[in-house]
């Protein structure tokens, strides 16, 4: 009993339980969900699909966990994805040329440079959010809303209103390639996760983020530069969204300013909430958010595979976010405890009268 109590106290316990539940559901109701096939030396199957498609979401949830831990939010990630996809696609693009009569594609600029530029743009966008919030004191929801709305316009300008198709083959590896039989994207997630975790655990940044999110004023008196911390987390969030943008454009081999990353901010916030992180800031766990992201991707994939109209997913997710936040709300819990108290009181009364 004591052991179970200890286990449930771990933040990651509940998202893992949720993941297991989704998996169990699939075990019974989705035939062939766990089937893995080897085709051309790669693994195929729903599980691999979840990992591959969930990679951008996992990246976003890493950045967003930090942002939410400082008591903020970032709803511009979808637009940052669109912008970085547009930048990457227009730089990599791929022009068709003929070499010895065989058609080949070359990039506008070398691919590493293109990706570097893309990530720099994403970092700058994150810093823009961070500056508005940390230096000008604008509420995070409004500051990032500005980029969310205007960002799609910027992406449109970059793509000149067109969907840019990418023809350059090596670029497809990021979002569609395989390494050791697994999707390459998951390795990128792994590397980013490793770097961020080292950054959080081996330096005091993690502590400072928690402190700033929990009590900004007290943190200032303790010598923490709260605005710098905020700037850092929004920058990281921008960078994560940028990498996600590269993965997505590589996976779908094009950049669509209107639809790339559309509505993904809800998934990302939901992932962080699923991970049991407080929506008001403070204590956080990135691995828990990653598991949360996997749960959401599994739900999405499940919905597709059991034949429920996929249109309903947005509705379901929105309701789940509300439920999780309700569960975090002290007043909501109080309402229930008082109700159960009343219940218990009635029971006792009943017993007494009996």
């Amino acid at each position: 009993m004591e052991g179970i109590k200890k286990l449930t106290k771990h933040q990651i316990f509940w998202p893992i339980t949720a993941l297991i539940l989704v998996m169990l559901f699939n075990l019974f109701f989705t035939p062939g969900f766990f089937k893995l096939e080897v085709k051309d030396g790669h693994l195929f199957g729903s599980i691999i699909d979840i990992i591959n498609r969930g990679s951008p979401l996992m990246l976003l949830s890493i950045g967003l966990t930090l942002v939410i831990a400082t008591g903020g939010t970032d709803i511009s990630v979808g637009s940052v994805i669109a912008i970085s996809a547009a930048v990457a696609a227009s730089l990599v693009g791929g022009q068709m040329i003929f070499v010895d009569g065989v058609q080949e594609y070359v990039t506008l600029v070398p691919m590493p440079l293109a990706i570097l530029v893309t990530l720099v743009v994403a970092v700058l966008l994150g810093m823009w959010n961070g500056t508005l919030i940390a230096k000008l004191g604008i509420q995070p929801i409004i500051a990032t809303m500005i980029l969310m709305v205007a960002g799609r316009g910027i992406a449109q300008l970059i793509t000149e209103g067109q969907i840019i198709t990418i023809y350059y083959k090596p670029y497809f590896f990021f979002g569609g390639g395989y390494l050791l039989g697994l999707p390459f994207a998951i390795f990128i997630v792994g590397i980013v996760l490793l770097i961020i975790m080292l950054f959080i655990k081996k330096t005091a940044i993690g502590l400072f983020i928690q402190a700033s999110g929990c009590n900004a004023s007290a943190s200032k008196y303790a010598g923490i530069h709260v605005d710098r911390i905020k700037l850092i987390v929004y920058t990281i969030s921008g960078l994560c969204a940028g990498i996600a943008g590269v993965l997505i454009s590589s996976n779908i081999k094009s950049a669509d300013a209107n639809n790339a990353g559309l509505f993904i901010e809800l998934d990302a916030i939901l992932a962080v909430a699923m991970g049991g992180n407080s929506m008001t800031g403070g204590k956080f766990s990135i691995p828990a958010s990653i598991v949360g992201a996997l749960v959401i991707q599994s739900i999405t994939t499940t919905i597709y595979s059991i034949g429920v109209p996929p249109e309903i997913t947005l509705v379901v997710k929105a309701i789940v976010v509300i439920i999780i936040c309700l569960l975090q709300s002290e007043d909501f819990r109080k309402m229930f405890t008082t109700m159960s108290h009343l219940q218990r009181g009635n029971n006792i009364e009943n017993k007494l009268t009996n």
Partner: protein
């Protein structure tokens, strides 16, 4: 006692906050046409009693009778409607609304289903004229001084046909003249038959206007007295309790010879014409090594602002700061920490603790920022430090991993103290370190302060309680209206002298 004149009785009032007893069996009676002082130190339960009476908090046990009728207000609105009005310490009005609206919002005069602004302005003017205030009532409240805002609050409270008027430390941000005016108004209202409950920290004010006194201590009822039966010294003794003599005996002693001592003591900090516009006028101050310097003055006198400038929590716009003889530029807390200055802020809950972090994390926080984010203190070292300080300051917690919000106020304060002691400061600034904590911890903290000073640390001590300052400080700087007005040492360190200096008399 003329019982037919009794306006309000509160009997056996009890109130518990998650495990803490805030009020235990407290009685309180108020007569028609009297001014009744409610006295007690910080944390004695005055504000809780008022909150219970005005419906902000629900009482756990006890009864309230108003004019013989049993009442139980569930909200401030309800309290107001039965005639119990309150004016709070911080002006609790809306500064974005006009003066007239602040008096009438919620019960605006209506005409044809719409707010009748003309009548409202007229009535607001009359209401304020009664209090001898003549201002443009259509202006927003924030265009007037705090004193005027206070008057507006009183006008609102009285205009709702109040039978009981509660004034919760209304004088803390008023100057002498404004206080006098307030007293005039209070007397006038009293003569109209209103019962006034007056909460204040200033003993002289109690004796200037009040008829009776009720004293609370640690949430318990001490007694109810006619003003003429209770001289000032006895009142203080009642407020502080029997611990008063004990405290004096146990702590006092080492600071008798300090007058000559200062001349050969080394200077740690010297501020020359340090100031910030609208916060505090430029001031000079010297802090010697190994002394406890007190900053005396009322709330809002500039004592906290003075400390904040030294700590870099506010950016000075004039003057300079020298530490051990060399000029330093301190404009952020981090720079102060790196220069071995520590600051325990006034408001523990808002500026002190990080509630959701563990005791351990709260303790190492300042040291960590002093070392920088790159040099993360190893977990094992953190645990050792935390446990050492828990022992050293006898912090009552089941483990270093407990969240600090689960600790009692006094222990939270000790955690903050540990945080700063850990940075090994040469100057420790304590702003109201004993507010709202139990008397035992209070004594411990006072004793600690003197010990630290004896070991050579400089301490700046700020407190609303003069007695506490007298016990700990060897020198005092007095502030009034954001100006440093005096420095007191030696035999001038005496209640009357300090009180008079604060009040601006002779």
């Amino acid at each position: 006692m003329k019982s037919e004149n009794t306006l309000l009785t509160m009997k056996n009032i009890c109130k518990y906050f998650t495990g803490v007893k805030a009020l235990v069996n407290v009685d309180f009676t108020l007569r028609e046409g009297e001014i009744h002082a409610l006295m007690g130190e910080n944390g004695a339960g005055k504000s809780t009693l008022i909150k219970v009476l005005t419906g902000v908090e629900k009482l756990d046990e006890g009864e309230i009778h108003l004019l013989g009728q049993h009442v139980l207000p569930k909200s401030t609105h309800e309290a107001q409607s039965i005639g119990i009005s309150t004016v709070y310490q911080e002006v609790n009005l809306c500064s974005n609304l006009s003066v007239a609206e602040n008096i009438f919002i919620g019960r605006e005069p209506m005409k044809f289903g719409r707010i009748d602004w003309k009548t409202m302005h007229k009535r607001a003017r009359t209401a304020l004229e009664k209090l001898n205030v003549d201002i443009d009532v259509s202006q927003t409240l924030d265009s007037y001084s705090v004193a005027i805002q206070q008057m507006v609050a009183i006008a609102r409270a009285v205009d709702v046909d109040a039978k009981v008027l509660i004034l919760d430390e209304p004088t803390s941000s008023l100057d002498e003249k404004e206080v006098e005016k307030l007293f005039e108004i209070m007397t006038k209202l009293k003569n109209e038959g209103i019962g006034i409950v007056f909460v204040t920290h200033f003993l002289d004010q109690v004796y200037a206007v009040c008829d009776r006194i009720t004293v609370l201590r640690n949430g318990e009822f001490v007694g109810e007295y006619e003003i003429k039966d209770l001289p000032k010294v006895k009142l203080v003794a009642k407020m502080i309790g029997k611990d008063y003599e004990e405290l004096n005996a146990s702590i006092k002693g080492s600071d008798s010879q300090d007058d000559e001592a200062h001349s050969n003591k080394e200077v740690f900090l010297e501020a020359k014409q340090l100031g910030k516009k609208n916060e505090i006028e430029p001031y000079d101050v010297i802090v010697y090594k190994g002394e406890v310097l007190g900053l005396a003055g009322l709330l809002g006198s500039g004592r906290t602002e003075m400390a904040k400038l030294l700590f870099g929590a506010e950016k000075p716009d004039t003057g300079e700061l020298c530490l051990e003889g060399s000029k330093k530029n301190i404009i952020t807390p981090l720079q102060a920490i790196k220069n071995e200055i520590a600051y325990c802020p006034e408001n523990r809950k808002i500026d002190g603790i990080i509630p959701d972090l563990s005791v351990r994390e709260n303790i190492i926080l300042a040291l960590q920022s002093k070392r920088g984010w790159m040099k993360y203190i190893k977990r094992s070292e953190q645990e050792k430090i935390a446990n050492d300080y828990i022992k050293l300051l006898s912090i009552k917690t089941s483990s270093a991993e407990k969240m600090v919000k689960e600790l009692s106020g006094g222990n939270q304060q000790k955690v903050i103290l540990a945080r700063w002691l850990l940075t090994q400061p040469k100057l420790l600034i304590l702003d109201e370190p004993t507010r709202g904590i139990d008397i035992g911890t209070k004594t411990e903290i006072q004793r600690l302060v003197i010990e630290l000073a004896n070991k050579g640390m400089s301490v700046i001590f700020i407190s609303s309680e003069l007695d506490e300052m007298l016990r700990t400080c060897s020198r005092m700087v007095v502030l009034r209206d954001r100006v440093k007005i005096a420095e007191l040492t030696g035999d001038k360190l005496e209640t009357n002298v300090i009180m008079n200096t604060i009040a601006g008399g002779n």
